[in-house]
Symmetry: C2
Subunit: 338 residues, 2 copies
């Protein structure tokens, strides 16, 4: 494979506050030969996700931090082009955690074969991958969603939020959300079936906007954003409401710990439950979801949007755009563009 060049994105420096292009560096190296028990994957699509911002800090967390000078990690869909591993054959499609790079060597750990290729391969990084599973686990395992409840979703048009809303509609719920542009609001209503949506950037009062969008209050808040939106959602919770805490993108850039929402007394008075979760703790539910989702997609009940950037060189900019909310639906980078 020595004629193939592996172009990579490496972490050049740790960001303080917002991520900048100079936090990344591009590097080329010769593609290595797989050793015994390894495979070589030609990466086709990679995913950029909000949680990666946390891995850029040198902080103890549930996943280890990215290392300076080393290739970054990402969810990838690719094709095996050389195998010295019993479980994988040349030509197999696989998905799993590989690198921000055009080719990856893997010992197969954590890789899954992609069997059903009726849907676009990139969907295994989105609706049939971690974001879709996150929506399902948060709504069902964590929040215990029931038919007909009232659901509020922040970052509603994102990779996770757009699936949350559609699943909640399948459960005959009242579904409201917020997003950061009028174009996104339009898509939430026309494509993802949201009953109500508002633009949090132009709202004069987020608590009032949520109250208008959920006039009966909120039974389940699927929280992706944190900060003021989380606080306002908490104020609008109904008794016995559940908050599935999935992400707090509003706080990812903070150098210091920010205070939590005001009015936490309501957690007692309204008997609220706030529960944080990480999708990988729930493999059984994830497996169930992929089957259900394939059915819902076939029936037209589950729709999906992607923003696809072209080429490994554009991965840092696509990541930064996603953190700034410039994508609609799942942000993907195509790696086999040459």
């Amino acid at each position: 494979m020595s004629d193939l060049v592996n172009r990579q994105v490496r972490l050049a420096s740790r960001p303080t506050g917002w991520v900048q292009p100079e936090n990344f560096e591009m590097a080329d190296e010769a593609v290595a030969e797989p050793a015994d028990g390894e495979i070589l994957v030609r990466n086709i699509f990679m995913s950029v996700d909000p949680y990666m911002r946390g891995r850029m800090n040198d902080a103890k967390s549930y996943v280890p931090p990215f290392q300076i000078g080393k290739v970054l990690q990402a969810g990838v869909v690719g094709q095996v082009i050389a195998s010295r591993h019993d479980d994988f054959a040349e030509g197999d499609y696989v998905s799993g955690m590989l690198g921000w790079e055009k080719f990856s060597i893997s010992n197969g750990e954590g890789l899954h074969k992609v069997i059903n290729t009726d849907v676009p391969l990139s969907w295994y990084l989105g609706i049939l991958g971690m974001p879709g599973m996150t929506a399902w686990v948060g709504l069902t395992e964590i929040a215990g969603l029931k038919e007909g409840e009232s659901v509020f979703v922040s970052a509603a048009s994102g990779a996770v939020g757009s699936v949350v809303g559609q699943i909640a509609k399948i459960y005959n719920c009242h579904v409201a959300g917020c997003a950061g542009s009028d174009e996104k609001l339009e898509i939430l209503k026309s494509e993802f079936g949201y009953d109500e949506a508002f633009n949090y950037k132009t709202s004069k009062s987020i608590p009032a906007s949520i109250a208008a969008a959920c006039p009966e209050g909120i039974d389940v808040n699927f929280e992706n954003v944190g900060g003021d939106i989380f606080e306002a959602a908490m104020w609008n919770m109904r008794p016995f409401g559940r908050i599935a805490l999935c992400g707090m993108i509003a706080n990812y850039n903070d150098e210091e710990q920010q205070p939590g929402p005001r009015g936490m007394m309501a957690i007692i008075g309204k008997r609220l439950t706030i529960r944080g979760f990480i999708v990988s703790d729930h493999p059984k539910a994830c497996g169930e979801f992929v089957n259900k989702a394939a059915g819902w997609i076939a029936e037209g009940k589950l729709k999906y949007r992607e923003t696809i950037a072209e080429g490994i060189d554009n991965a840092p900019a696509a990541f930064i755009d996603m953190l700034n909310g410039r994508n609609i639906g799942k942000q993907i980078i195509r790696l086999d563009d040459d």
Copy 2:
């Protein structure tokens, strides 16, 4: 009954910040005759509890606010001295929500007969009443306590906290707590079986004190206090930890909503659950607890402390002292002191 005088405590004005003696007024009135379907109760003991502070505000909550010029409500144990109600006979002992007064008229709603008089009557306002039940419901139904876990309790020597610690020890847990005086720490260790305890008023760093008291971290935080102690406990939670949010006495006097704890990102990273609760939502568990607790008391596994103030005239001062943490164990007022 016209020869009996009913001395009452009424709400004179709503406090701003800390409760003051002038927020109360004493009043005497003739004791009324029970109408058909009513009973007259001679009140023997009454309870003052932190949640009453909230009812002094004119705010929507899970219990309606106290009314200015009207007698305040409290948990009371008393004896029926006249009955025109089929379910209650003269001489019956009863407990339930009555008034800050020496005699109460009731239609029996929410009153329970006290059958077992092997323990002091006042205990039905404490370890066998709402505070004991709160400890049990919070640990079991809300936090799902498991054998051998690490438990941290704020306001550990209070009416609820002292029972929480003892139940957790029956579950073979590591039990640590904080309290506001060295005398209380001594009682926590020598009497209630706490493994570790520290004085939050003299601690130089509450997070460090909690870390020292719970070197393996906290699986279950039984939170009575809120504010800085809640924040510090959250920072010391172990993965998959549960926080049973019972009270936030640190915030009861606030005129404005205070921010929540810093570092709420940990809720996701550590997959924490924060759950508020009100004991009255769990009548079945409460019933189970009274039976269990009677057994544990007989076996000497469950100990109990009261601070008893004498006479209805001392009720306001006893309530204010309790809010300031001057009581040890359950604060009770004896009403049949004449």
